[in-house]
Symmetry: C2
DNA sequence: ACCTGAACACCGTTCAAGT
DNA sequence: ACCTGAACACCGTTCAAGT
């Protein structure tokens, strides 16, 4: 027995020593999963790799999380927690500044954290009660700013979700590009010669990052949306009989 | 030998008879892959399952497509072809009608075809030269409508991509929900009681499909964007010294 | 109660044939 | 030139233990 163990050690194949009872916690698993995802990407997160990183038997993880999907749900919940903890409180004195700051922060935060972005935006909306409530409280805050400014409740809600969809769309597209290994910051496009007969597009493509979800284009959409909302606000105020 | 074959047949394990040379074509593989994806979803598309559906050895597919990713690229190219073939030509006499119709058709088409949606929108932008050119020609058409209406080339380009990102964002979010098996059409939310303290949101959530990418919200964003663009157009016309 | 390896059914891909 | 199964390294998950 001792000789078998020694031989195994010589070839690097020795068994891990058994972990003590209670030496694994769900928190430790989640922390290890984040570390692995940060080092190698969320797509590289597998149960065997995670077990190895944690120095734990593969099946031990199943004692705490009933499936990989269950684990990913817990990771998403933690990602949402980190995201909302990092989001600064609402700032800006006018409703339009509030929207601008909120969605700029939204985008900036998730652009800077691939793991949190993958777990919150890219991975379908797998909300727990907790994350749902976190989101809803933030949304309500903004809706109340808009309503106080004179928007109807309906307009305010539509305005919020439209900007939210737009911002998440930017993040989704940019992240998809980055996952495929495209250089997202360089202007122009490698196949730009194909657009020789396309005067307007080829000219604009030379100036911007070709995938068109760069800062300038994002800002254009944000500002344009706010411009549209000013007209909505005027109509809402009129309809409600305000000054 | 004959007895082994007979025994195998009895247990349903007999070998497929070998296909004749030249009896497999890449087109046939692609057609089979679409059929399988339509029947069982793109995520269920695996090389063994496809081979089985085509009644072909698994490895034979690798003669025509060097990897699954290569095959998916070919499927995407076909999906783009189908999408652009189904997109009606530009309609509408004013620039805003052109935009409205284009992006409504865009969304409607991809909402009605999960396979094409998964291969074009959900799967990162894996463009071939051909699909890139198809997209660019369509975009250029719209840019020229906008420029003719008085938009600067820069505004026109930003306007197009902003609406494109918004529309793709709607599709992405809705599709993500549907993949997770949520009922996307029902108003309200199963966890709506959590929002008891959120007056505006809870009221609005009772009226709409909770995930907020329903027709009404999409239309609000589309119209709002166009409202914003009217102000851009006025400024662009002024700047260019037009009437 | 908690941790474990063996085993299973799947996957994408390579290789060394067969025809 | 084209088609093939066996084999490999991986995956998620279950099961029947071990402690």
């Amino acid at each position: 027995l001792a000789s078998r163990s020694a031989a195994a050690a010589a070839t690097g194949n020795q068994r891990r020593q058994r972990r003590a009872r209670g030496s694994i916690t769900p928190e430790e698993v989640i922390r290890g999963a984040f570390e692995l995802a940060e080092a190698e990407g969320v797509e590289a997160l597998s149960m065997p790799r995670l077990a190895q990183a944690l120095d734990v038997g593969v099946t031990s993880i199943y004692w705490y999380f009933k499936s990989k999907d269950d684990l990913l749900g817990a990771l998403s919940a933690e990602a949402f927690r980190r995201f909302y903890a990092a989001m600064p409180p609402l700032a800006g004195r006018e409703w339009d500044d509030v929207l601008r700051e909120f969605f700029r922060n939204f985008r900036a935060l998730l652009r800077n954290d691939d793991v949190v972005c993958d777990l919150t935006i890219m991975r379908g909306a797998s909300h727990t009660d907790e994350t749902l409530l976190q989101s809803w409280e933030r949304i309500e805050e903004i809706l109340e700013v808009l309503v106080a400014a004179g928007f109807s409740e309906e307009s305010a809600t539509s305005a919020y979700f439209t900007l939210s969809v737009y911002t998440r769309g930017c993040l989704f597209i940019e992240r998809s590009m980055r996952v495929e290994g495209r250089d997202v910051s360089a202007p122009g496009h490698p196949r730009a010669h194909l657009s020789a007969d396309l005067p307007v597009l080829s000219k604009e493509m030379r100036k911007r990052s070709w995938y068109m979800v760069d800062d300038e284009t994002f800002e254009f959409g944000l500002e344009n949306h706010i411009r549209g909302l000013r007209a909505v606000l005027a109509a809402d105020r009129e309809a409600s009989g305000a000054v």
